[in-house]
Subunit: 289 residues, 4 copies
């Protein structure tokens, strides 16, 4: 899909019922908003949940926006019990990347951010290894080294949280970060956390998926980008993709081929998230692409 | 996408501008219509063309529908210069299949229709060869043999038109029909005509695409379903798909692999067309899947 | 890959080591065999296992073949501890299809066999339901109804074994056969058994995979053809393929889309098996396509 | 496929006939060569052309290799009229990258070379624009700026040839180099030249393929890596891949999506070429992956 003009996106989720589209679109039209794209989804027309994303432009300054937000809450969202969010595009989003030794996802996101593909800046890279420092700093991005050892994990997570806060990040991306984050960290991060898992989930959750894929003799490998929850590799899936493999490929070859899938899948998921195209529906996602 | 309940679909195309979604959805809401799915597309938010498909249910009988259709034209569509169509689902659509010797697309569509996948009945099969008669009649579908020779083409097309009219078909599908239809036939058919071309158009338009694909040494072959226009293989594309091939594949193997792509691509295109998901935009299509 | 001419295929698996290709190709060359295609694979050049498939033609009658087979065993295969098999193509292979209510895989294989795509005849269809009898018999294939109830399972399997033996089948294909076969049946069947599972294994092994895929919110669904072993859905995988799905698809839509993948995956696996392209390597397969 | 150990690859193409595999493998075996992988292809078993690639290790120093090469020519290749080449892996291959303003293919190849994926070093980057100098030099690779204007083309090509010779390159890759190279340049380059074209050839050869794809309304876009010949975009295709697009994508979006395909397709083609997996067969290629 094309990038939206720098405007606002209204995200709604609520019990389905008649008249929602009419109410929302009439409200926006009367306020002079110019709807650019609109997407809806109902999990079930009778008794299901309704999801909507509208991207629109609005003339007028801060006051107009504040009034629109207040009035929408009072007049439309409140009466219908909507979960909703008005995401104004007032500047690039700020993303933190967490990485370990592998650089393919990390560099790919840095490169895409630098050429404007993500509509976001990478505000900080945090890694438990020093290996990628030079490559990160070449993009002009601050690199924070937070080593993690079994007995320093709590302190390390505290240091990472401080780095996230200091960089004012609204999204955290695990670009092949190989440490498991605690539930406490996730709760305090104050931002959605997106992970890339190097398998086609739910197959091969956990460690060493390429080796296990080889042992099972699968003919296709994959990668999965998902929101991180406390349960490992079990959060809502944002995007997946796959590649065909033959009996000739060993673990090294699967790892090399997989790296290409991982960076594509993760970059799509991150871009869609940053463009407010992903709505969470329990443990699933609605993705308006 | 899921099949719609048996309801109506409103298809709109018009110059883009503010308030269209609000106007249409308010109109339908006030009439008691229950919108099930809604899709929009703007070819360009400033000065482009706007396309919309809304599927909705409506309580009430024929009169309610007639009033809704009349009022929509007068109150909404007319003032905005809309091209529009209200497609009510009052029974299965009626499709004619034209075929020659190859049976793979023909049988696949007959089988899908018979299990209810298309929301349509195959009202007649017309072929310039007798070879598939038994297989067609086993589905309980009338088979009409209209042989075509260079000097009998006009008469043959006349006979085919009569068969189409007799079967009251609203869609014509060329299931690997190997004769070129005249512009006169297309004009008089009174129904959209969908063709499957056995290449990834615009590559290898015209005759013998698999042989030419082999000679060019492509690594991927494809198939294209498109609306038929007078210019050969140049009409609006509805759907395409591809398959990877290796240097090992000769023409026979390409033809065999291609047959699998052809029947998938054609069946998707026909289903989307019959579900009113395809809107023509000049020589392109908007497909709301 | 192209179909082989009607000849013989030599399948070999043995510990890897120097000189195997030289020994085999020299043996065949000296006997006047004309090698048409040759494929090799080593699971590991140092200490791994070596797999080879050679398709070749040979002048001379039964005696020449018998001598070749005897001498190869004595002179080449024996000294090197080869597992090997000489598969002569002396007529179409004979396949049994087991089915239940779903007809998509069943009809697809019947249709492909009838047009010569499989190099095999379907010798018998056995089903625990009567629903597909007419469609099967229209292909001229015997239909055997063997109902299965919890307390008649052993007798049912006995009846099925008798039908297999009576039809002299060398391959058994479960074309969405929904009963679990006992280890005893598998042992006594005397032929490889190929199954299609309607998920991307190892994800969603067991019952109701499309519903579970929907609940997990995956973005891609798949199908897996594998040899049947006693452990459910755990045998060596022959082929897999996938299709992308969106949040719009419910279970019915996943099932419909999945049916298209299933029949493609199963038909490829069956064809490759019948062309002796699949060599089993523990719980994995080497597939020479 | 897995990377070969650092050994030698024997590439053969000759008229097909009996005994070739036996002769070659016996020759290598007798010399103590340990064949690691072996691939064959016959364009037609009767009267076609035969292609073979064998990767093997050999004990012994320079003298053993020299003797093997001389004897193979005299004893095996000469009598059978083989085109052949013994490619010893004695160090990384040396690649020149030609680029213009776009950096995605350029950076991707530099990154893959730096992590050892290509088995090659990028010996020089030549560009007609200065824009990517810093990024290139960050990889420690020499950057040569050769501006091209209509009236300086001959001089520019001369400067580029000198840079190629100075860098002792055995492969030239056009990583979205936007100037057309003369036949004279190609003849004098003394190395194969690989190009990435941003369409699914033969569709949309020439300029501005994404805009033309949009205008034609295709549902899938692609990229093609091919050897460069004098005829524009008509050389032997090495690799192609595609991505599905919707009616929502404008030219910018197609360009962004296409960039991801281009860099994957080009990197695969370059790697296969550098591993001697690509044999040219007239205007087609045999690719042993």
């Amino acid at each position: 899909m094309p990038a939206d003009p720098p405007i606002a996106r209204l995200l709604i989720s609520c019990p389905d019922g008649p008249g929602i589209v009419a109410a929302v679109s009439a409200f926006l039209f009367e306020r002079g908003a110019n709807i650019v794209t609109s997407d809806q989804h109902s999990s079930d027309p009778t008794g299901g949940r309704f999801f909507m994303r509208m991207a629109f432009a609005l003339e007028g300054g801060e006051q107009a926006w504040a009034a629109l937000e207040r009035d929408f809450g009072e007049q439309v969202a409140g009466p219908r019990g909507m979960d909703w969010r008005l995401a104004r595009v007032v500047g690039p989003r700020r993303v933190a990347l967490l990485a370990s030794r592998e650089d393919h996802c990390l560099l790919d996101l840095l490169w895409r951010a630098s050429r404007g593909e993500l509509g976001a800046v990478v505000a900080v890279v945090i890694s438990n290894h020093e290996t990628t420092r030079a490559a990160v700093e070449a993009f002009g991005v601050p690199f924070v080294h937070v080593p993690v050892a079994p007995d320093t994990k709590a302190a390390a997570e505290q240091a990472m949280l401080e780095a996230l806060v200091g960089a004012r990040c609204d999204t955290v991306v695990l670009a092949r970060y190989m440490q498991i984050l605690s539930g406490d960290f996730l709760a305090r991060a104050g931002a959605p956390v997106i992970n890339i898992h190097h398998s086609f989930l739910p197959a091969f959750a956990g460690a060493d998926p390429y080796r296990r894929a080889l042992e099972r003799g699968v003919k296709i490998i994959g990668a999965t980008a998902h929101y991180v929850t406390e349960e490992l590799d079990a959060g809502p899936i944002i995007e997946q993709d796959v590649a065909r493999v033959s009996h000739r490929a060993g673990v090294d070859e699967l790892t090399r081929m997989g790296a290409d899938i991982e960076r594509l899948v993760l970059s799509r998921a991150v871009r869609w998230h940053l463009e407010d195209r992903v709505l969470v529906d329990g443990n699933k996602t609605v993705v308006f692409t």
